[in-house]
């Protein structure tokens, strides 16, 4: 069903990873992604993979759930693999028809594949273990130094919060409208591409109307509670850098050191 789409979905939990400061988690994820591009050989990937495994184990998010994050990007990964496999010149391994696979091709394909998979799993762990609201709070906090040069950090974070908050609502709305039209005999699954595109009209029109209605209601509700951006605000849940965050930061640093050492020494 449409509701089951995992889109930056949060997996509720109380693990050590879940409770880390969101700012730390965001920075650590960025560093992890950068580290994947620092790595030059499979030894480095081994370290990166082990680190990811450790985080998965501590977070106690089921593996099936994490792997689901790969599904939407499966095509991209497959495409990258194929292109690398066939297009890289070098020592020929097998040759058939007009295609050839080279040793270098296999190596690069494996390399790229591992990098992509680790990249996606690493970043999906961030959204799986961090509540969307914490995530945007974290982004706002990290962007706030840029307020001085006129970056509207708070507004950006608010827009993100609202967008994230309403993804499930809109999915639910879509589900409801689809069912209502199906009850009237609409058919979204069969027919030519053109027919199927046309079948979307009975969903899209009510969906847009709903979206505008929700937006209007929300704007009204925010205004009637005197929401106005621009002034500094206080928060109900302050994010604090605790001792466990310090431990997390140290672990992250050691990971980076290992990656860098590995690259220099081998």
């Amino acid at each position: 069903m449409i509701r089951d789409i995992t889109l930056g979905q949060y997996y509720p939990g109380e693990s050590w990873i879940h409770r880390l400061d969101p700012r730390l988690k965001i920075v650590a994820t960025l560093l992890y992604i950068i580290s994947l591009f620092v790595v030059r050989d499979f030894g480095g990937f081994l370290i990166a993979w082990l680190a990811l495994e450790a985080v998965i184990l501590i977070s106690r998010v089921p593996r099936s759930y994490i792997l689901r994050g790969l599904r939407p990007v499966f095509l991209i990964i497959a495409f990258t693999l194929l292109v690398n496999l066939f297009m890289i010149p070098g020592d020929v391994l097998v040759r058939f028809w007009k295609l050839q696979i080279t040793v270098q091709g296999v190596e690069t394909a494996a390399f790229m594949g591992i990098r992509l998979v680790l990249l996606i799993l690493g970043s999906s762990l961030l959204t799986l273990t961090t509540r969307p609201i914490q995530l945007t709070d974290g982004i706002e906090a990290l962007l706030s130094p840029l307020k001085k040069i006129g970056v509207p950090a708070h507004e950006l974070a608010m827009m993100m919060t609202i967008a994230l908050r309403f993804i499930p609502t809109l999915l639910e709305e879509t589900d409801k409208i689809m069912k209502a039209q199906q009850a009237r005999g609409a058919d979204f699954e069969t027919g030519s591409l053109f027919r199927r595109a046309k079948a979307l009209v009975p969903i899209l029109v009510p969906l847009f109307i709903s979206a505008f209605r929700i937006a209007q209601d929300l704007a009204m509700a925010m205004e009637s509670r005197c929401y106005g951006s621009g002034r500094p605000r206080t928060r109900m849940n302050e994010i604090r850098f605790a001792r466990r965050d310090l431990a997390g930061a140290i672990l992250m640093m050691s990971y980076l050191a290992m990656i860098v050492l590995e690259r220099i020494l081998w």
């Binding site: 509701r3 089951d4 997996y11 509720p12 409801k176 409208i177 069912k179 209502a180 039209q181 199906q182 009850a183 009237r184 005999g185 609409a186 058919d187 009209v201 009975p202 029109v205 009510p206 109307i209 709903s210």
Partner: protein
């Protein structure tokens, strides 16, 4: 055509952290021509049951017979189910999408693959049945109508498919008292004219007591009562324990009795109650 439901179970998102058991071992039958009422506290599984009856959801286990056909079998034609059972969702006006009222009402019949003349005839008939003037509204945009009118158009869109079973999920939610009465009258009229099975979900016990021949009560996904309104509402204390209420007529006569005015019988409508009270206080 009758509805027969056997040992129906439904679990949302099975195997996931937010797995939810919405229906548990529900069995009942609704005979042909019955006006049935379905009541239950919010979250008791009413809407889930309605969607199962229309084939929009597949049950985890159990079977649903519409007439002789088991609609839970793989490979049954959904269009056939939809031709037999019409489902009006809660707030159905949010499904309107066409440029004109007539086109919107025609959406269902067209999907059934009917001939244009037949579609046209049905659209006229359905719009008249819901108490709107065809010539007045046919070219209007559905979005310019009032809330109550939109609701009628949306219901007409389902009625135009001429279902033998008409299922309505809280069709009067959010309407003013007058529109509320009009919509219910309309549903009654359609029931009498077409002799269909009507299954009405409502939070208003007065409406259910007044209209239904059979009352089904859900609580936490289980069917806890199934009987005539007299039988079901006689168990008022149990109903209150699961978050439901007695109809006003029963509540008032009960209170009078407790304060010493002995009113005989158990009326279901306020008119009956008034008669009985008049009899009780007459010198």
């Amino acid at each position: 055509m009758a509805i027969k439901v056997e040992h129906l179970n439904h679990i949302y998102s099975p195997g996931q952290p937010h797995e939810h058991k919405a229906l548990e071992d529900v069995s009942f039958t609704v005979a042909d021509g019955t006006f049935a009422g379905l009541i239950g506290h919010t979250g008791s599984g009413k809407s889930t049951l309605l969607q199962l009856l229309n084939g929009l959801l597949k049950p985890t286990s159990g079977s649903i017979f519409i007439g002789d056909a088991d609609i839970t079998r793989p490979g049954v034609s959904m269009l056939k189910i939809r031709r037999k059972t019409g489902l009006v969702f809660q707030y159905p006006e949010y499904q309107l999408f066409e440029e004109t009222v007539a086109l919107d009402v025609a959406f269902g019949p067209e999907n059934l693959g009917l001939a244009p003349e037949e579609v046209d005839a049905r659209v006229r008939e359905a719009i008249a049945l819901v108490g709107l003037d065809y010539d007045e509204v046919k070219n209007a945009s559905p979005f310019t109508l009032s809330g109550g009118q939109k609701r009628r158009v949306a219901i007409a869109g389902v009625i135009a498919m001429k279902p033998e079973i008409l299922i309505l999920d809280e069709p009067t939610a959010g309407l003013n008292p007058q529109a509320h009465e009009e919509i219910l009258d309309m549903i009654c009229r359609i029931h009498e004219e077409t002799k269909n099975i009507t299954l009405l979900v409502s939070h208003n016990m007065n409406d259910i007591a007044r209209l239904a021949d059979q009352v089904l009560v859900l609580d936490g996904g289980r069917l806890v009562m199934d009987g005539t309104p007299e039988e079901v509402f006689a168990r008022g204390d149990e109903l209150e324990r699961i978050g439901l209420a007695r109809p006003d007529a029963l509540r008032i006569t009960g209170q009078l009795r407790r304060s010493g005015i002995f009113v005989e019988g158990s009326p279901l409508t306020l008119e009956e109650a008034a008669d009985l009270i008049a009899k009780a206080v007459a010198p």
